[in-house]
């Protein structure tokens, strides 16, 4: 019997190809999209979980509490005491240190430049911690020597090809200094400390002669504490250790140590030198949205199946007439429902598997590595979905198996009530989705087109350590380099700074130093917080940063500074001529004078608020070179610049790196772009499902009321009268679902926007735009159906049977 029912299900699909196509394919595509989004979420939720015994590992960090200025939380910890942990705190069973050096060296290997943007120093246990799979080299002595460099498979292939590079010497300038100690297989992309090369910091038992001066070194420190109960004990001991070394550390405030589980550090916010890789709310928002997408498709699926059964009321009546009981009808309908659902499920899995590559390229993450088979959320969702499908199938089968028994009552009293509820659910999900997607698109457009406040067009930034001094050993003369840059044909302008004009995070490594400032006007007894950096006077004019007040001298003295508008607004109403001093500066007579106020400029993404910034105008060291080229001469200028920097670095020990500004700025918002693209894609899909659902429902509901429409027609009703009549119900649905959907969207938008320091008013345009889009989605299919019904021959519905 069951085969007959399954056969009947396939016959129904054949008879109503369009509506069943929408129902089954819609659910299948939603399932596949849901699977892709789960994999995407898993990528973030599983960050650092591939580390060995990840539940036992904690990141060690400190914060500094000032009585006046509150708590400044850091993501890093002091490197010297990290090595004392195993010795002094028995609860700590293991530790690792990760310290990226800000200084790039001019490394040469096989006669070619061995470019490494930064050296990354780690402790010897690092390969074990990240469960490195070693391709070449002795696994026991990978990081046994401080001159050894452990490199990744891709790094090795790019530089050495397929040759085993272990033992190959790496030169600093002309001196052999390092060697390749091993090659490891590519690490998972969602490992927090992933890099393509590592060097040894110190062996734990090695006497490195670290002195008190080393306490300024801070990096990423992890400790393994197998017993959770010991975490508090370790924290307390660490606090004691910091207190003992307080004088050496040189911090003014109260120091406090924290231990964060490593699977959570990825989402932590509020740390001054670290930004979360991803907002946890964004991950949960994506999970919620993808579940809603699935729910919407399931609702559509149920609506269309329900309507198809409604159209078959006569068939059910005839079946009863020839002896079928309600139980038999229920069984038939449930079998049909299960067949449709199973088809969707199978198709969904097929689409999921075949679409993985496409989705991975869209979001630029290889999601195929994140299997859903071991992901609890995937299982719970699948069971929820199966449960929903089975329960709804049973309920629907029960109700529709009784249609023939109570047909009149069904039509007059319960007319479409269940379907109306489902339609409401689908409309409110669509409202929420579309509003959110439009808001994200508007927000993304805003942050991508923000006025950066400075000229960044056709510009590349080189990071290379130089000084404004001629003939200093190992350093290239900054003035000479600038002259040589300007001589390159096609270069329109160049500027230099000691901060990166494309800083993802506001930290010392990028040249933004957080400092406490005393103001000389006596209005503030306590220091204020600001950022400090340095550049030379012509930077502002070259980069077209407007001077708001005062003037910037061509040749500045070491005591002259420029502040930005935010600093002035926050601390100094009349800044020109004001004097300020750094807190912690031993020489209290060392005062700076403000000579100009410049407009705020974004050298960082809008996750950060605009910072108060003081810029010293006479730096000794120059680290960043910004070079702009003539519109159509990029291909000519970039190789010339590359050759110039290679030549400059060739005579010294320092290396260099370069990045094009517009590309780097786009990289700021790569995640936002992925979110926006995913949301828009899903919103379009939901809108498509909603259009189909509304078309199917309105078509079926109008079909059942053709007689009413015909009667109204003979009573003189015009098309507009009929549209008004039927639009009324949809208007109520539209308004009701709009209110609920937009309320939900509003909460999601607030969550999403919470990671940005600035939110444009334009984002709120999403609400009226979504209302218009939804109006089109709801009323166009409805109107099309009414027009079709109005044009139909009314006579066939009015004549006697």
């Amino acid at each position: 019997m069951i085969w007959k029912h399954i056969l009947m299900a396939f016959r129904q699909i054949g008879r109503q190809r369009f509506s069943f196509g929408i129902a089954i394919l819609g659910l299948a595509i939603s399932l596949a999209a849901f699977g892709h989004l789960l994999s995407y979420s898993r990528y973030y939720l599983d960050y650092d979980k591939n580390a060995e015994n990840h539940r036992e590992w904690y990141r060690l960090r400190y914060s500094e509490v000032h009585p006046e200025m509150g708590e400044h939380a850091s993501a890093s910890f002091f490197i010297p005491p990290a090595r004392m942990l195993l010795r002094d705190i028995p609860e700590v069973k293991d530790h690792i240190v990760y310290w990226p050096s800000v200084i790039a060296l001019n490394l040469i290997c096989d006669g070619r430049s061995f470019q490494m943007q930064e050296r990354v120093f780690v402790s010897a246990a690092f390969p074990k911690h990240y469960k490195m799979d070693i391709i070449y080299g002795n696994p026991d002595s990978l990081l046994a020597d401080r001159n050894g460099i452990l490199i990744s498979e891709s790094f090795s292939r790019n530089f050495f090809g397929d040759v085993n590079p272990v033992g190959t010497k790496v030169y600093v300038g002309e001196n052999p200094r390092y060697f390749i100690s091993g090659v490891f297989k590519e690490l998972d992309p969602n490992l927090h400390l992933r890099h393509d090369h590592y060097s040894l910091w110190f062996q734990d038992d090695e006497d490195n002669g670290s002195s008190e001066d080393d306490w300024y070194l801070r990096g990423h420190v992890r400790v393994r504490i197998p017993d959770k109960e010991d975490v508090k004990i370790v924290q307390s001991k660490l606090n004691e250790m910091l207190e003992q070394h307080r004088a050496i550390i040189g911090q003014k405030g109260q120091l406090q140590a924290y231990l964060d589980p490593i699977s959570k550090i990825h989402f932590m916010t509020g740390l001054k030198d670290d930004a979360p890789t991803m907002s946890i709310t964004s991950v949960y928002t994506i999970l919620l949205l993808s579940f809603m997408l699935l729910l919407s498709a399931l609702v559509n699926f149920l609506i269309i199946i329900g309507l198809s059964w409604k159209k078959r009321a006569d068939e059910f009546h005839f079946r009863r007439a020839v002896g079928a009981g309600r139980k038999e009808l229920w069984y038939q309908l449930f079998c049909e429902h299960s067949t449709y659902f199973a088809l969707s499920l199978l198709l969904g899995v097929a689409i999921y598997l075949s679409g993985l590559g496409l989705f991975s390229s869209l979001i630029q993450i290889d999601v195929s590595r994140y299997s859903l088979l071991t992901f609890p959320i995937a299982f719970s969702t699948l069971f929820t979905l199966l449960g929903l499908a089975i329960v709804s199938g049973m309920i629907m089968s029960y109700r529709y198996s009784g249609v023939s028994l109570e047909q009149d009552v069904w039509h007059s009293i319960h007319r479409n009530r269940g379907i109306t509820v489902l339609l409401f659910a689908q409309m409110f999900i669509s409202f929420a989705f579309i509003t959110l997607a439009i808001s994200m698109a508007l927000h993304y457009s805003f942050i991508r087109n923000i006025d950066w406040g400075w000229d960044n067009k056709n510009t590349i930034q080189y990071k290379y350590l130089t000084i404004n001094d001629e003939g200093r050993q190992n350093y290239y003369d900054a003035r000479l380099l600038r002259t040589r840059i300007r001589e390159i044909p096609g270069v329109t302008k160049e500027s230099v700074s000691n901060f990166s004009v494309i800083s993802q995070s506001l930290d010392d490594q990028n040249g933004f130093h957080e400092v406490q400032i005393y103001l000389a006007d006596g209005s503030l007894e306590t220091p204020v917080s600001s950022y400090l950096s340095s550049t030379i006077p012509d930077f502002f004019e070259t980069r077209e940063i407007k001077v708001v007040s005062g003037s910037i001298p061509e040749e500045a003295s070491a005591s002259q500074v420029v502040v930005n508008q935010s600093f002035a607004d926050k601390y100094l109403p009349n800044p020109l001529g004001s004097r300020l001093r750094m807190s912690g500066d031993e020489d209290e007579t060392n005062w700076y004078e403000v000579v100009a106020v410049v407009e705020d400029a974004w050298f960082f993404p809008t996750y950060h608020e605009m910072i108060p910034l003081i810029t010293i105008l006479k730096p000794y060291v120059i680290k960043y070179y910004q070079i702009s080229w003539q519109e159509d001469r990029k291909q000519e200028v970039l190789p010339a610049l590359s050759a110039l920097f290679a030549d400059a670095a060739g005579s010294g020990v320092f290396g260099y790196s370069a990045s094009e500004l517009e590309l780097a700025q786009a990289e700021f918002y790569a995640q936002d772009k992925a979110h926006k693209d995913i949301s828009l894609f899903m919103a379009m899909f939901v809108a498509f499902i909603a259009v189909m659902g509304i078309y199917a429902v309105s078509s079926a509901s109008i079909h059942t009321q053709m007689k009413d429409i015909s009667i109204r027609k003979v009573c003189g009703a015009e098309l507009s009268d009929i549209i008004r009549l039927y639009a009324k119900k949809y208007c109520y649905l539209y308004i009701g679902s709009g209110l609920v959907g937009m309320y939900l969207a509003n909460n999601l938008i607030r969550l999403y926007n919470s990671r940005y320091a600035i939110v444009p008013a334009a984002s709120f345009l999403a609400y009226p735009v979504a209302a218009i889009v939804m109006a089109l989605i709801v009323f166009i299919p409805l109107c099309l159906n009414i027009i079709k019904a109005f044009k139909a021959d009314a006579n066939q519905y009015l004549q006697a049977d």
Binding site: D408, H411, S412, R415, K707, D708, S710, I711, R712, K713, V714, C715, G716, A717, E718, L719, D721, D793, A794, N795, L798, Q799, A800, D801
Partner: protein, 221 residues
């Protein structure tokens, strides 16, 4: 009132072409009670639908109140139908989800009359037909005769000059059938033009003029 000139109606499907009306010419003067008889499928109802502007002829002309309706758009047809024509059907065709009052009110609603005026007219009409006590009832709560009286009330509520009745007594017992015919006669006496399709000679006898149709044309007059 009505003039048909060489009027033809052909129904086409992919493979079959059926001529429902074949070059009919007919004049129905104002105030006339006209009955059309004939076997099933002879084209009676098709003719009635064309007279009621619910269908368009394939060929020929229909002049209603001296106006050629051929070039009329759907909106103009609706207006003309609303102002001029009332329909009465065999199966009453009341809207199940509307009360008696609302069913009768329907044509006035589409004439955009103010609510007070609509209420007064409907109440008066229901009173005239002895249905005032049934105003709040739904169609399925009424007998067949009562339903047809409601349908008649709806048919004449907008004071149409032409009433088209398609087997109005077909679903009624003889008592209720007589009653409906009596009401139609009253309407005729008031000066309305009535065109009625019927099988029953007893009811055809109420008409001033009877024509018989056969195979899409008139058999006898």
């Amino acid at each position: 009132m009505i003039e048909l000139k060489d009027l033809t109606k052909i129904y086409r499907t992919d493979t079959i072409e059926t001529t429902a009306l074949n070059s009919i010419n007919l004049h129905i003067p104002e105030g006339c009670f006209f009955a059309i008889k004939g076997p099933s499928g002879c084209g009676k109802t098709t003719l009635l639908n064309i007279l009621g502007l619910m269908d368009r002829p394939s060929r020929g002309e229909l002049l209603l109140l001296g106006k050629n309706t051929a070039g009329f758009k759907e909106k103009e047809l609706s207006r003309l139908r609303r102002q001029t024509i009332g329909f009465l059907f065999q199966k009453f065709n009341l809207i199940a989800s509307l009360t008696v009052f609302e069913n009768v009110e329907l044509p006035l609603l589409y004439q955009k009359l103010p609510i007070a005026s609509r209420k007064a007219k409907v109440e008066a009409m229901l009173g005239q037909l002895g249905l005032e006590a049934r105003a709040g009832h739904f169609p399925h709560q009424l007998s067949g005769g009562q339903q047809q009286r409601v349908a008649l009330a709806r048919c004449v509520i907008n004071d149409p000059r032409l009433i088209l009745a398609d087997e109005p007594t077909g679903n009624l017992d003889s008592g209720n059938g007589e009653e409906v015919m009596r009401l139609l006669s009253d309407l005729h006496r008031d000066g309305r033009t009535i065109v009625m399709v019927t099988h029953d000679d007893r009811y055809a006898a109420f008409a001033e003029k009877v024509i018989e149709m056969k195979d899409g044309g008139f058999a006898a007059e």
